[in-house]
Every structure is written in structure tokens, then in C-alpha cells.
Subunit: 119 residues, 2 copies
């Protein structure tokens, strides 16, 4: 039962698009990720996914719209909905999703990060 400080954990890594687990609640994990540039289109057929922006700004492209988020904002991406995260400058995010959720979902490819990496 330890206190987890977001900034302290964020200071521990610099690589982008590579979620790091900081906490687990039941079978859900809280992951920090730094993003910049364009991710791949993908969806998570089995689960919703929550993005909480901690610092910076990002957008999530959907097939029919674009949603802009900044620090202090949250969005739930419903399961099965294709999305593509993008950020002009580095953006720091807290993700909440079930254990085992892969960052590239059903798309895979070179941006697929190692899963379940704790910091």
C-alpha cells in the first residue's frame, strides 16, 4: 500500500508510446505513457479504455471525428471503436485498462510495446 506520485514515475522513463504500469486495481492497470507524433489506427475489441491527460495536449482521431484533450481531461474510448492518438508536442497520459491490454490493440505492428512493464 504505497503512494504513487505521477511526476516521480514519469521522471523514470523517456521513451514514447511505451506504457508503464504504476498500479493495479483488481484486474485493471493504471499506466503512464508519453506520446508524440502519430500512433497507429487500432481498436480494443474486448474493452473500453480510459485516457486521462496529465500534462500537454493530444488528440484522438476517430473515423468520423477528432477529439482534443488537454491536461485535466478524460475520455472513455468504447471497446471496438477504431482510434488513433496523436500529439504535436509530447503529452503525458494516464491510461486505465484491463491487465493484458496491448497498446496497438488488434492492429499490432512495430509500435506494439512490451506489456505489463512496471516502473
Amino acid at each position: 500500500m504505497q503512494v504513487i506520485n505521477f511526476q516521480e514515475k514519469l521522471n523514470k522513463f523517456s521513451e514514447q508510446w511505451s506504457p508503464k504500469v504504476i498500479a493495479q486495481m483488481n484486474d485493471y492497470q493504471f499506466k503512464l505513457v508519453k506520446i508524440q507524433g502519430e500512433f497507429v489506427w487500432h481498436s480494443h475489441p474486448e474493452t473500453d479504455e480510459v485516457f486521462i491527460v496529465l500534462a500537454g495536449a493530444m488528440s484522438i482521431l476517430f473515423r468520423d471525428r477528432q477529439v482534443d484533450l488537454q491536461a485535466g481531461e478524460l475520455i472513455v474510448v468504447p471497446k471496438g471503436v477504431e482510434h488513433k492518438p496523436v500529439a504535436v508536442a509530447e503529452c503525458q497520459i494516464l491510461l486505465v485498462e484491463p491487465v493484458g491490454t496491448v497498446n496497438t490493440g488488434d492492429t499490432g505492428g512495430s509500435m506494439t510495446a512490451a506489456n505489463d512493464i512496471w516502473i
Copy 2:
């Protein structure tokens, strides 16, 4: 699929110890709560519970220790573990827990808030 701004939602209510739902991911809810003073000792026998402090500072008393949290910090309270949140000045918190989780857990009493209240 809408962006949820924490501050905008926090501005919508003033009552303390009464969690308000702002988002749902699968069968989990994200709730904002404002606290000040002392809550009741309780536990949630069925689930872990996450506290994320958005503004201010709080402590969580456990039977064998006290943990202090401030803005930008998270803690997972394991299921079944007795705890008592306290805050000297008003503290604003984001809770993450399963749908149906009652604020006073297995203790009940006058501080039990209406559940599943969305704002």
C-alpha cells in the same frame, strides 16, 4: 464519446463526501468527490479502490499506519482493508471503483451517499 473536464465537473457541485460519477469504463466508474473532515472507518470486501488526488491533500488512516497524499498522487486501497479518509482542508479526489460500490462500504450509516449519481 465526450471529453470530460475535471474542473468543469467539480464546479457543478459543492457537497462533500458525496461521489459524483463522471465516466464509466466497462463495469467501472470514475467519480469525483470533495472531502473535508473525517470519514467513517470502512472497507470494501469485494473490491480494490483507487484514490487519485486532483487538488489539495488528504490522508488515509489504516489500522496500522497513516498514508498522506497530495495532488498528483494515487493509492490503491486493497479490498477488505479497513480505511478512513480524512482531510483538514477540502480535498478533491478522483475515485475509480466498480459500479455499485458504496462510499461507506460495509459500515453504512449517515455518511452513506446516494450511489450512481452522474453529473
